[in-house]
């Protein structure tokens, strides 16, 4: 996890490397429109912070982009891909929207809950997995599906899930 500076002058916030990444996004928008870069910046910061956003990070980003803090909170609370609490090493997002539901996402969800012994929104005690129920991820053609960290897994069955997760552990 990268060390981040969250208070102080704007030019020194976060770290050199993170600022450089964010600045490439900010530069894509007209002068004074840094607010437009808030989503990619949140992704960059979330990745650098072990998968979640603290309030301090959001406040510092508001300062960095020169926008009100509430404008960052609005975005971070709107999208399910932003985490506002610490998460496990791996994040499993199971789609339960219409296509996946018709193809048996309920069974998938139940299997995961039993296997990991947690409910949606919770993290396993060993800190390995966080389970989430999410809205449509645009992979209806391969329903039921889940997003494991950054990879899509489609046509899921309980066996396939066991294989995937066991593969991770080894």
């Amino acid at each position: 996890m990268t060390q981040m500076l969250l208070t102080g002058p704007k030019e020194e916030l976060f770290s050199d490397a993170l600022r450089e990444q964010m600045d490439t996004w900010i530069a894509k928008y007209p002068e004074g429109q840094a607010q437009s870069a808030v989503i990619p910046c949140l992704h960059i910061l979330q990745d650098a912070n072990g998968g979640w956003l603290s309030r301090g990070i959001m406040d510092a980003l508001a300062d960095y982009l020169d926008i009100p803090a509430i404008s960052v909170y609005e975005v971070a609370t709107f999208y399910t891909m932003f985490e506002l609490e610490p998460v496990g090493k791996h994040k499993i997002s199971v789609c339960t929207n219409i296509s996946c539901m018709l193809c048996g996402s309920e069974k998938i969800m139940n299997h995961l809950q039993q296997k990991l012994n947690i409910k949606p929104g919770e993290t396993t005690q060993d800190g390995q997995f966080t389970l989430k129920e999410v809205e449509c991820l645009g992979a209806c053609v391969g329903a039921p599906m889940m997003l494991l960290d950054r990879d899509y897994h489609e046509y899921l069955t309980p066996e396939k899930i066991d294989n995937i997760l066991d593969g991770l552990a080894s």
Binding site: R55, P68, A69, I70, S71, Y73, E74, T77, F78, Y79, T80
Partner: protein, 778 residues
Amino acid sequence: MVNIEIDGIPLKVDPTKMIIQAADEAGIDIPRFCYHKKLSIAANCRMCLVEVDKARKPLPACSTPVSDGMKVFTDSKVAVNAQRSVMEFLLINHPLDCPICDQGGECELQDLSMGYGEGISRFTERKRAVKDKDIGPLIQTDMTRCIHCTRCVRFGQEIAGIKELGATGRGEHMEISTYVEHSLVSELSGNIIDLCPVGALTSKPFRYKARAWEMQARPSIAPHDAVGSNIELHIRKNEVMRVVPRDNEDLNESWLSDRDRFSYLGLSSEDRLSEPMIKLDNQWQVVDWQTALDKTVEGLKGVISKFGAEEVAGLISPTATLEEAYLFQKWLRGLGTDNIDHRLRQQDFTDTDVDDSLSDWQLADIDDSDAFVLLGTNIRAEQPIIAHRIRQAALAGATVSSINLFTRDLLMPVDRQMAVNSPQLVQTLAGIAKALLAAAKQEPEDWLDLLPERAPSAFEHNVALQLSNAMNATLFVGDLINHQPQASTLRSLARLVAELSDSRLVVLPSSNSNAHRLAGSMPADKGLNARHCWERALRGYVMMGFDPLLDTAQPTIVHDALRRASFVVSISSFESDWVRQYANVILPMACFAETSGTFVGIDQRKQQFAGAVAPRGDSRPGWKILRVLGNISKLKGFDYISSQDVVDEIESPLRELKRGSKTGFIPDSLNLESDLMLISEVPMYRSDSLVRHSKALQQTPESRADGFARINQKEADKRGLDPQHEVVISQDDRKVSVPLEIDNNIADGCIYLAAATSVSAQLGSLFSQVQVMKAGRE
């Protein structure tokens, strides 16, 4: 212009308008929640769906521009069906708790559901509930009632200039909140109470107090700043229950500052005076009016016959009405004294003869100005509505510079801001004048020797350029200059800069002081001004409408003068320990809302208002007290029947008013010295007795900051101060000990300590030189 038809009525409208705007102008009603004429268009409530000929589905009237030949139907079957469907969705999660909702009876949702709602809900699932948020002492939230119109969010962004509320979460989980719980800090925050179309945001002090239909609305004028915002007092059983704005595009538009909205709470304070009292053998005794008035006149005549009329002074609050001001001076002049003044917080009177009042300028002219220079004014606190108007002009492209004793976020685009102490402020203004000389048509000869030799700094050049490039520039001079001991020098330089750059100079008056100039409640001839009245320690004082130690420039000098005086009368609405200690007679006066009168605003606009409730207890309107005092003093011309008679007399063409000269004052020198200067700003919610007695305003975050001395890091280091220890601020032999905060917005060479507090009342004079030490070291 395009031709359209709404509900069969042919209209000619501006093609930039939306359907709802055209309909509003034509008086055709379209239901709406999120649309508001002063806010941007969100089009998120969908309540204003209307049928448009040739469109395949209903369109939102608030975001559909008119076009030639358009035919709109607002109450066709298609339109009404669409509106009813939207209403059904809006009511799905609404708690329908109207019987216990403060908005009941004046709720846009309730009103419209009468027309568009169903008697029975088809929604049998569980409704959602949203936790209430604490957003401060002024606004109550009941967020389950919220229909997510986002008017409050847009108000923060677009009008207040500080986005504190937002929509967090998504879909079913969306909430309007600050996310991180805190009190709103905007000085215009109360307006979201009016904007909220449902009962989600209501007035906290007004909670469960009254129903809309039980109250009567009486028009009035807000007394706390120089705008004279138009308000409506809502009265029940002879009590002001709340205050709301009345639209006036020339003044406050649809808005009201929190100070004007919540100051009414002071009316019911337990510190209100309700009976006349006299002091006998050092004991206060309640007496009838006749006795108190007789005693007043007898006491004053006693002082006059023994020591002469010039030993009597009359001081009156600038919040007093035009009529009160006029009768006050007429009565005292009748008794033979010219020691009359309303400029209680002013210390420097050397440029008194210069008349800065404006007769050809309107508040709304701010909108047309393309450059503003704010000098010594914390404009958001001093004149919130003017700050709002400047902000709107700045958003439209006007340039803004601010030079003050401290910087503050003005919540608007500001081109440059600088914090300097007084001597540097003089030098900066002189530098700007010097920079302007280069292009001046006529050189001001009297000034040439005074202006510095040095070349102007980049900052000074930039301000000079800003002013000379503008078509219509305005300079504002505020209290942080006007209350200083060097105010004349600073004002004279501001006048010079305005003259050289052909800009408009606006010296911000304190509340109703323009009325006092008109009424003549200041020395006309050889009389003493407010400062001298106290410094000379006279024998008799008449004080009207103010607290002697909180509303004056030199509290300890006032204290000494009152202690030594042989006869002191206080005509006031509120108790004051100091008055109890030193006065001989206390006459209880009716307060704002209890008396009729006239307010003269910054642009000389005269606004009359009537009394809306009966005065508290046995107190009486100020003008009536003065009328009787005039009669008991056996003076002629005090036979007024109504306050209108007084106004007629003031406006009589026979009356000669002493007018100051327009040009006039040139200081001897521009070199001031200062080691450490006290910044004695009168905080927004300490400006007068009524505001100080409004409990809700005293609980705001703005007020909580008043107890601290503030200094920047550099000055603190220089003097070995730190926030862990209290500091002792001393002036001559007077000392106060206060907690310290480091605030790098304060200029070098300055320490900030709010005026009009019980702490500042222990110091000699505002804006003076002080020494500062860590507590325990003195």
